[in-house]
């Protein structure tokens, strides 16, 4: 029985090649889209789950009450980790480590500026990194040692054994390679290329050892004993800060390491999600697209029912039960979805490199992983069953007599089911078109929003090695300007587009003592506002003509928060020493283009600056300017590769999430529309078949081809318009929800809706016309002579 059914199924599929192609194609695209999205979701889900004890590992978060609500971050003081192992029962280990910073590592003539993390031996144990070479027990214990990751070791030493070789850090310190560990996977929140001992950091930066509970500069990880009561540990931890710091307004809490990546947003000290929202959207999108493909399949199968009806009738008359008919049709759809799976597999392999490029991920198909095959096979079977269920029940319900008599069993009811299915598909497609349009609108809006400075032709050059010297920096500025490559040069203590470096320790007259206000603080060189192309509203910039050691510049946001009427000349207290405001600068965006600008204090301390900010001379060729910068910098600071970066590029990275969402919505929206069109084509095929006789009679009576095409298209246009009308309010709710998370957002306009309406109509008409023109042009005799 099974064998015969199988054979007949294959014959059927072969006989109707066009139909098989449309069906398999639709299912393949649906399955492939679903699988790629699921791979991505699984990838995001797998973050920070590489270590053995990831489930018992926690990140310590700090929550501070500020004027703008409770703020939370994973920055903690260095003294916390040693304290924890004692105070919290069940804490097996606690470690402190720095956040990654690029530093220069060299061996002979090869230089690499790679991300370095300072950590302690506990950090290694908690994160459970895989040692390829060297002794794990000795790692990170000596001050002058380093642990390399595999790739970096290969880059530095080639095929030589790296152990006990001496490398140079920042052309200054000699470090002995103690061990080599496997590369840190991309789906890890803590990423670095080499590990340095914490003790080295303490020697390099005295503040690391000296600072107490007020200075948050490192990451603290805690590993609890298996099965240890988490809430008890969390409770104990929340009192630690108050016990050590008088009048502390903040507290600590534990956040599961494996949730760090997806649930990184906090509100009032509680985790409120984060990237998980996007992952959820992708997850839903995956299944919606698959559902659309299934709907498509149902549509096409039932549309062909006329042809299958006779077979059903005969089979029933010779003794087939309904059950065996259902299983036969199910077999057919499962077989089709298996074919679809094979094609989907090829599609996935072809498209993955592209998606990895767009999503900045390392999605790969793990051929040896049974989970992948399980999901893939499961998805295929489920698709086959869902897609096959309606046609199977529908087709098997035919009454043999009616079919054999030639009565048209497919009346208006079955048609309306199909119409509902097509409407469903187009609702989804229209929603995606609208959402995509709004995402792009929002992206453009934010990109074009004034950021308070001119980022065109603005470059940053990191200050490295011996350049941390005021005299040398003045010389560098002088020579850079002389070379003609640059029109303005200044210095800054962080990258222009980076966050960090903030403090509560700012006091002014009339400040509410209970209120904590977070100020960003930076050190800036001369000509800062001029170089940035931003304006000084009041007062003046730092200038060599004055001594500016006790002077600061603040931004408009700071003026507003302090409530100053005449800011220039006002004396405020900054880190407990009085400073005078000499100027007010226009607000400009540093970290987050989506939120309000935070108050900023600029001071002039040349020993703190970390980057050269410069504007390229507008008149000159960019690459020759870059060459000149390189030449001058290398001459003054040999041994350090120059890596000049455009602020524009750095800034662009801030839109990563929105861009990704836009691209994904665009692609998968396109797929959804394409599959829906296949469904529409199926419906048009069916309609044409059904109305063949009617059309022939109309033609005999004198209807023109154009009349017929219009007649056939009219019904479909009605369906698409209905779908659009349903989609509009749904899409409105979705985009409203999405936009509400942005404090700067586009207002919802008619445009996306108009685009969706226009696009869906055009696509629908084109699809349907392919079929209706064919029918209209057919010779009426062919249809009429069979009656």
């Amino acid at each position: 029985m099974f064998r015969l059914n199988f054979k007949i199924t294959l014959r059927n599929l072969w006989k109707n090649k066009g139909y098989t192609l449309i069906n398999v194609g639709g299912l393949a695209i649906g399955l492939a889209s679903c699988m790629v999205l699921l791979l991505y979701v699984a990838y995001e889900w797998s973050y920070d789950k590489q270590s053995k004890n990831y489930a018992d590992t926690y990140v310590v978060y700090q929550h501070q009450v500020t004027s703008s609500g409770m703020m939370s971050w994973a920055w903690t003081p260095g003294v916390l980790a040693p304290e924890l192992s004692g105070t919290i029962p069940g804490a097996v280990m606690a470690s402190h480590s720095s956040y990654p910073q690029p530093q220069l590592l060299s061996f002979h003539e090869s230089y690499f500026k790679k991300a370095a993390v300072y950590g302690d031996p506990q950090f290694l144990k908690i994160m459970d990194y895989k040692f390829l070479k060297g002794n794990p027990a000795r790692a990170l214990r000596e001050v002058n040692s380093v642990i390399l990751t595999e790739t970096l070791a290969k880059n530095l030493f080639g095929n030589e054994d790296p152990i006990n070789k001496i490398v140079k850090l920042n052309n200054k310190e000699d470090l002995k390679v103690d061990a080599v560990i496997a590369d840190i996977p991309k789906n890890s929140s803590i990423e670095f290329d080499y590990l340095l001992p914490w003790s080295l950091w303490e020697r390099q930066q005295p503040f690391v050892k000296e600072s107490g509970w007020g200075n948050n500069f490192c990451l603290t990880l805690v590993q609890l004993q298996k099965g240890e009561n988490f809430s008890k540990a969390d409770e104990l931890l929340s009192h630690v800060l108050a016990n050590h710091q008088q009048g502390a307004t903040g507290h600590y809490s534990l956040h599961t390491l494996s949730k760090w990546h997806l649930y990184s947003e906090f509100q009032n000290g509680r985790s409120v999600g984060g990237k998980i929202d996007q992952v959820r959207i992708f997850f839903m999108l995956a299944f919606c697209i698959l559902l659309i493909a299934c709907v498509n399949f149902m549509n096409l199968s039932t549309a062909r029912s006329e042809k299958r009806a006779k077979e059903v009738g005969v089979r029933k008359a010779i003794g087939s039960s309904r059950k065996s008919l259902i299983s036969q049709f199910m077999l057919e759809s499962v077989l089709l979805s298996v074919l679809g799976m094979v094609v989907a597999f090829v599609l996935i392999e072809i498209s993955l490199p592209y998606f990895n490029g767009v999503l900045h991920t390392e999605l790969v198909i793990h051929y040896s992983d049974w989970k992948f095959w399980g999901v893939f096979a499961g998805l295929t079977i489920v698709t086959g069953c869902i897609a096959g269920s309606y046609p199977a029940f529908y087709l098997s319900s035919f009454e043999p007599l009616q079919v054999l008599k030639g009565v048209k069993t497919t009346g208006s009811t079955s048609l309306s089911v199909r119409q509902v299915l097509v409407v469903f598909q187009f609702v989804f497609a229209a929603c995606l078109i609208i959402c995509t349009a709004v995402i792009y609108q929002q992206l453009n809006f934010i990109k074009n929003k004034s950021i308070g400075y001119n980022k065109n032709n603005l470059v940053e050059i990191p200050i490295q090695g011996s350049m941390h010297n005021e005299q040398k920096l003045i010389l560098l500025k002088d020579q850079l300007l002389k070379s003609g490559a640059l029109s303005d040069v200044t210095f800054f203590s962080r990258s222009i587009s980076e966050g960090g470096n903030n403090t509560f320790d700012v006091n002014w007259q009339g400040k509410n003592p209970k209120e904590n206000v977070l100020f960003n603080h930076r050190s800036a060189g001369y000509d800062f506002a001029k170089t940035m192309g931003s304006g000084i509203i009041n007062g003046r910039e730092f200038s060599p003509k004055y001594t500016d050691t006790a002077n600061v510049i603040i931004n408009e946001a700071a003026v507003k928060i302090m409530g100053l009427k005449n800011p220039v000349g006002t004396v405020i207290k900054f880190w407990n020493s009085p400073v005078t405001i000499i100027g007010v600068m226009k607000d400009f965006v540093m970290e987050n283009p989506y939120s309000q600008t935070a108050p900023l204090i600029l001071y002039h301390k040349m020993n703190e600056v970390e980057v050269v900010v410069a504007r390229l001379n507008a008149g000159t060729n960019i690459s020759s300017s870059m060459d000149k910068i390189k030449e001058v910098t290398e001459r003054l600071n040999p041994g350090f590769p120059v890596d000049t970066k455009f602020v524009d590029d750095n800034f662009e990275q801030k839109f990563q999430n929105e861009k990704l969402l836009g691209t994904v919505a665009n692609w998968f929206g396109g797929f959804a529309i394409f599959i829906s069109c296949l469904g529409l084509l199926g419906l048009a095929l069916y309609m044409a078949e059904q109305r063949k006789k009617e059309i022939s009679i109309r033609k005999v009576l004198g209807a023109s081809n154009m009349n017929i095409v219009t007649l056939l298209n009219k019904d479909f246009i009605k369906l698409v318009i209905i779908a659009d009308l349903i989609a509009f309010p749904i899409a409105y709710l979705i985009i409203n929800h999405w936009l509400s998370t942005y404090s700067f957002r586009v207002s919802i306009s008619v445009l996306p809706f108009a685009i969706a309406l226009g696009l869906s109509l055009i696509i629908a008409i084109l699809t349907v016309s392919v079929q209706s023109v064919k029918v209209a042009k057919a010779n009426p005799v062919d249809a009429l002579k069979y009656e």
Binding site: M1, L4, K7, I8, R11, N12, K15, K310, E311, G313, V314, R315, K316, A317, I318, G319, S320, S321, R322, S324, E399, P400, L401, L404
Partner: protein, 228 residues
């Protein structure tokens, strides 16, 4: 074997009953060869469909081998199809996707007959109807007469006790029709299979043992054919 009592069939449209069959009562014994005749619209096909359980009467009782059909479940009906009833259609109704041999084999599959037995029965049928050479062809590669032969072979393969034929020769040329009728007669006489056919042709009816004349849903005449 078959007892019909007061069978009625009508369609109600806008309160008006249009009768297809009225007060049809008859008995058909095992081994009879009955031809149902009458002009178009007399209700011949409806009567045959009711006999074949493809349609249900509005009133009346129908007993098939002592069982009341009107109260039979779908499952029981399928059992009857499988074991007792063979259909032969005017338009043959072979399954286009199956070869000749597979078409003949299909009812046996539904009867869950073992593989070896199936093979031998199919071979037997092919042999008997002289279509061994055509067993791997598809229906659309055969002539009408050959297709009808396959249709009859399919009906016989399940070894039914009754064959219901709705104008089995309606689409055939007279020489082929003759062949089919000879076959029916032989089956009836040699294997004692009950045959009920609907036909327009006096000649065809002459092959049977009994003729039911229908007119406007009523049995007008019930004749025994005198074998010449």
């Amino acid at each position: 074997m078959i007892t019909l009592q007061n069978i009625e069939k009508y369609y109600a449209t806008k309160g008006l009953k249009s009768y297809i069959l009225r007060h049809v009562s008859t008995t058909i014994q095992q081994g009879e060869f009955v031809s149902i005749m009458g002009p178009s619209g007399a209700g011949k096909s409806t009567l045959l469909n009711i006999l074949g359980m493809l349609e249900e009467p509005t009133y009346g009782t129908y007993e098939f081998m002592g069982e009341d059909i009107t109260s039979l479940s779908e499952r029981k009906k399928i059992e009857l199809y499988r074991n007792h009833i063979g259909f032969v259609f005017q338009a043959y109704h072979l399954i286009d996707e199956m070869t000749v041999a597979e078409n003949i084999e299909a009812p046996l599959l539904y009867k869950k007959i073992a593989g070896a037995e199936r093979k031998s029965r199919v071979a037997d049928m092919l042999d008997r109807f002289n279509i061994v050479g055509k067993k791997d062809l598809f229906p659309n590669q055969l002539s009408g007469g050959q297709q009808q032969l396959v249709g009859i072979a399919r009906a016989l393969a399940a070894q039914p006790s009754i064959i219901l034929a709705d104008e089995p020769t309606g689409n055939l040329q007279s020489a082929q029709a003759l062949q089919i009728m000879e076959l029916f007669k032989k089956l009836n006489e040699e294997e004692n299979i009950t045959i009920i056919q609907v036909t327009h042709s006096e000649v065809n009816a002459g092959y049977g043992s009994r003729i039911l004349h229908l007119l406007d849903g009523v049995i007008k005449e019930d004749l025994n054919v005198v074998n010449l």
